[in-house]
């Protein structure tokens, strides 16, 4: 069983695409599509890596990330942030919130996998 990735994203088609790619690469994938209760899901699921969208219904990805980084338990969780808003300002905000990796949509599947491998090295 590979490492677990939690994908928080509201677009069903994108969830489907990411899940397919990750599972094909051997990751175990959990998904969630709402920002509101994202923190509970993360705590319950305790993933090795988090893929987070910025524009989520209920709560923005930045907020979730900020709270995550303040959490003693989950503070070191690697987070790959994906956003459709690819401006410099957005990257800044993400880095400020403590993102591990920031990528703009549309992304290349290979790049995502590459990033994941870097963030969660194989033991």
């Amino acid at each position: 069983m590979g490492k677990q990735v939690l994908v928080i994203e509201d677009e069903p088609n994108i969830i489907e695409a990411i899940s397919f790619i990750l599972m094909r690469d051997g990751w175990s994938v959990a998904t969630h599509s709402n920002g509101q209760d994202a923190m509970q899901v993360i705590r319950a699921c305790r993933p090795d890596l988090l893929i987070l969208d910025v524009m989520l219904p209920g709560r923005s990805g930045y907020d979730i990330l900020t709270e995550l980084r303040e959490d003693t338990d989950l503070g070191r969780l690697p987070v790959l942030m994906l956003t459709a808003r690819g401006q410099a300002k957005d990257r800044e905000m993400a880095e400020k919130a403590g993102v591990s990796r920031f990528m703009t949509k549309p992304f290349s599947n290979a790049e995502v996998l590459e990033a994941l491998r870097q963030l969660v090295p194989e033991e």
Partner: protein, 895 residues
């Protein structure tokens, strides 16, 4: 020591006595021991300044030339004084109650406090009095040289001119010293009055002494004197009826209008009851002054050499008989007459000149420099009085020098009288006729004055001096009817009577005529009432009250403070309350209290009280002062209200600006978000497309249905992209007005059916409530575009309605010319702060409620604008509510 030097010493001694008397009187008055100063006999004696050197010397000369005619000069004043109940009583009362300071002030005050009129009256007075002062100087120098002729020594003064100069200078000094000591509100000069009373006694005693000497010492008793009179050249009474009546009238008029007479009679009056004593004592005085004139003249004509000047008989007759003591007394009497007249005339004229000419000019000059300090004015007034006194005497001296002192004394006196009498119509008319107006007074005075100049004063200088002989013969500019002594072709009249007749009658006629034609100002009417009804307005025992005012005063004041309409309605209401018609209530305490309260709202209670009290004549500030205060207050209040208006406007503008700024800021945020939004909206489908196309490319051995599924996703997302681009394009086209409308006839219900079906709402979670009956409205419009709007609204409701059981109510109201379609859901609605923005492009109620591209409502708004309808957000409906209004009447709005 020659007799001339004795004369100088006696003169100086006499003047020193006057100084002492005047000084003592001032001291006594200052100490309050002035009861004897206020004796009615002092008042009567002070009136004797009517008898100047002209009387003292000139009457005898006049009698020697024209017999009894000289009496007319005293008959007129006698009649005026005897008839005090008619005129003088009223004049004195007006003078006291209105604080009149001079004839000019009286005229000006009566006619609405017009300074123009005052200036004019002042000029008339100065021009009329200057020759008279010159006359006094001349008489003094003549009497000096009479002594010099006997003594045959060279006068130490050099010549007559120098002597006249010293006399004028000395009089100026005395007048300034005692005439401008104080600046009392009532302008009374105890010292001067006392000195004049003394001089009155001196001149009467001197004349009577000479008379007694002549009758019993020279003529040999009364019988013999009467016989001598009838035997003399003036033994037959041959009067010109015109001159007799005319001169009586003229002297009566002059008695009222002479500045010096007004000064002693009205201004210096202590008590109205003094008039009662004067009414018999003054005629007696005048009678005594004229009693011995004819005997002296007759005996003088008999005894004196043929070329002797009859004007000096009073002096030269005793002198020729070796009675130097009597001559000296006579000389002192003449000197007294001259000096008292000059002193009082100078005071009276200087008051006028200072108050009506110098002060206005000074204040006018000062106006630029800022406000006048109150302590400052007193000094200025005194200085201006002093300068004016010196100026008046200088004028008299100049006139004396220029005229050469040659004309007969009596002639100058009468010319002077005629000039000053021009004020009479305006004065008497103003006192007895409320209809008299400023314009009337002005025109009457002007015509009278110029006729006097042209017919009397200028011709008096002789032919060829001012008016050419040509003018005398053929009239001004060759017009025969403009001959100075035969105006309008009336010839054969005595020049004096001619001038008086024309000037006074045209003066009076014009005064009445113009008064009838013109309309007086409020202040004029007010003053007119005050003057004419002075006995009703002023309490009998009250002293100097500040402008006694009545309701009209109060109204004038109130209007300036409250503004016209408000004051008028207030006064009218008060009048009605008292059961009176019109605007003027009786000034009863009740009304005054209410007025005070009303005014205090504007100027504060203390000020209001002071103003009403003062306007009601209970204080010493004049109505004019009050009005000035009121003007200033009104001005201040106007500024204040202007400021208030301004600041209100500013606040309004600021509110509008803030609102605009808020909107701009929000719009700017929206614009900033535009790129993010469009980026997001485009990238999201592209992400799916790219991800799945890569999957399809890179993944071998995909199941057939997975393959189909992923291809389907790519297809759907591509369509989504296209739709977004279509929307953008659509909006752009709509905004630029390049849209083609396909207007057709249809029914509203069909369009709604179509919209509901297109959104799939009917089958979905959301319930849609409609009322079929009301929807059957025929419409003529672009049905597809309308459906697009409805689809958008329904889709929005589907997307955003956050109710547990979402419900959308579509109601239709047919309003005849238009139909209104409301889409109301049961969600939480659009927050107030967002309502203004939802129709903007890329506006989204919040980031959290993502969905469309934020173009839907913007497109709806544009569509409805093209369809000549509108779409608005309807607040306060419980949920989100949009109202679409559409015209049902055919329009050709589409271009």
């Amino acid at each position: 020591m020659g007799i001339f030097n004795v004369l100088i010493v006696v003169c100086l001694g006499y003047v020193a006595l006057l100084f002492i008397v005047a000084f003592m009187a001032e001291r006594a008055a200052a100490r309050g021991q002035s009861s004897w100063l206020r004796s009615p006999f002092i008042y009567t004696l002070s009136l004797s300044i009517y008898c100047t050197a002209w009387t003292f010397y000139g009457a005898v000369g006049y009698a020697a030339r024209s017999g009894l005619e000289y009496l007319t000069i005293y008959l007129g004043p006698t009649l005026v004084v005897v008839g005090w109940w008619w005129m003088l009583r009223k004049l004195v009362r007006i003078g006291r109650s209105q604080r009149i300071t001079s004839v000019a002030d009286l005229i000006s005050s009566r006619y609405g406090k017009s300074n123009t009129l005052a200036v004019f009256a002042t000029l008339v007075a100065v021009i009329g009095t200057t020759p008279y002062i010159a006359l006094q100087l001349q008489s003094v120098t003549l009497s000096f040289s009479s002594f010099a002729g006997v003594e045959a020594t060279v006068p130490p003064f050099g010549d007559r001119n120098a002597m006249a100069f010293w006399v004028a200078g000395g009089l100026a000094f005395f007048t300034i010293l005692f005439g401008t000591r104080n600046l009392d509100a009532n302008e009374r000069h105890h010292g001067v009055v006392m000195a004049i009373a003394l001089e009155a006694v001196v001149k009467l005693v001197a004349l009577i002494a000479v008379g007694i000497f002549v009758i019993w010492g020279l003529a040999g008793g009364i019988e013999a004197t009467l016989a001598k009179i009838d035997a003399s050249p003036i033994g037959t009474f041959t009067p010109s009826a015109g001159r007799w009546a005319g001169l009586t009238f003229l002297s009566a008029a002059a008695f009222l209008t002479l500045p010096r007479m007004f000064q002693v009679m009205v201004v210096e009056n202590e008590d109205e009851r003094h008039l009662r004593t004067a009414s018999w004592a003054f005629p007696t005085y005048l009678m005594l002054m004229s009693l011995f004139v004819v005997p002296i003249a007759v005996v003088g004509l008999e005894l004196m050499p043929a070329g002797a000047n009859p004007d000096l008989f009073v002096l030269t007759l005793p002198l020729s008989q070796g009675r130097e003591g009597l001559a000296m007394l006579s000389f002192i009497g003449g000197f007294s007459s001259a000096t008292s007249m000059v002193i009082v005339a100078a005071i009276a004229l200087s008051t006028m000149v200072s108050n009506h000419i110098v002060m206005p000019i000074w204040l006018w000059l000062k106006e630029d420099g800022g406000t006048v300090v109150s302590g400052d004015v007193r000094g200025i007034v005194l200085l201006s009085r002093r300068v004016s006194i010196a100026g008046v005497l200088a004028l008299g001296y100049l006139y004396y020098r220029i005229s050469g002192g040659g004309a007969a004394l009596a002639a100058i006196g009468l010319i002077s009288f005629a000039g000053l009498a021009q004020v009479l119509p305006a004065m008497v008319g103003g006192m007895f006729w409320r209809g008299a107006t400023r314009a009337g007074a002005m025109s009457g005075l002007a015509v009278g004055f110029f006729l006097w100049l042209f017919c009397l004063l200028l011709p008096s200088f002789g032919e060829g001096v001012v008016l050419s002989a040509e003018t005398f013969q053929n009239g001004l500019g060759g017009l025969a009817w403009l001959r100075p002594q035969a105006l309008f072709g009336i010839t054969g009249m005595d020049p004096l009577v001619h001038a008086v007749m024309w000037s006074m009658s045209l003066n009076t006629l014009l005064f009445i005529f113009v008064s009838l034609l013109t309309f007086p100002s409020p202040l004029e009417r007010l003053q007119g009432a005050q003057f004419v009804n002075v006995f009703q307005h002023s309490g009998a025992t009250q002293g100097w009250s500040g402008g006694v005012a009545q309701s009209e005063d109060l109204m004038v004041m109130a209007q300036r403070i409250l503004g016209g309409p408000e004051a008028q309605s207030f006064f009218q209401a008060e009048a009605t309350r008292q059961g009176l018609a019109g605007f003027l209530p009786e000034p009863i305490p009740d009304f005054l209290q209410r007025l005070e309260r009303k005014l205090s709202g504007s100027v504060g209670s203390a000020t209001a009280h002071a103003m009403v009290a003062q306007t009601m004549g209970r204080a010493t500030v004049s109505v004019d002062d009050l009005l000035r205060v009121a003007d200033e207050t009104a001005q201040m209040m106007e500024y204040q209200s202007q400021l208030e208006t301004k600041s209100e406007e500013l606040a309004r503008t600021a509110r509008q600006l803030r609102a605009a700024n808020e909107k701009l800021t929000q719009l700017s945020v929206q614009k900033d978000a535009f790129l993010s939004q469009i980026s997001h909206e485009l990238r999201t489908p592209m992400t799916s497309i790219r991800a799945f196309s890569e999957i399809l490319r890179d993944t071998d051995g995909l199941q057939q249905d997975a393959l189909r599924k992923y291809a389907g996703i790519i297809h759907t997302e591509a369509i989504r992209l296209t739709r977004l681009l279509d929307d953008l394009l659509d909006l752009s086209v709509l905004e630029n007005g390049q849209v083609n409308l396909n207007q057709r006839d249809g029914v509203l219900s069909t369009v709604i059916d179509h919209a509901v079906a297109a959104t799939g709402a009917g089958a979905g979670r959301m319930r849609i409530r409609r009322t079929a009956l009301t929807e059957a409205v025929p419409i003529h419009t672009d049905l597809d575009r309308l459906a697009q709007v409805f689809i958008n609204l329904i889709a929005n409701a589907q997307k955003y309605c956050d109710a547990e059981r979402p419900e959308l109510t579509i109601t239709v109201q047919n309003r005849g010319a238009s139909v209104v379609v409301d889409f109301i859901d049961n969600g939480s609605g659009v927050p107030r702060e967002a309502q203004a923005l939802i129709f903007e492009k890329f506006a989204r109620v919040s980031e959290q409620k993502a969905g469309g591209a934020g173009l839907g409502l913007a497109i709806c708004r544009e569509i409805m604008a093209r369809l000549s309808g509108s779409i608005t957000y309807l607040p306060g409906q419980g949920g989100a509510a949009f109202r679409v209004t559409l015209r049902t009447i055919r329009t050709n709005a589409a271009k």
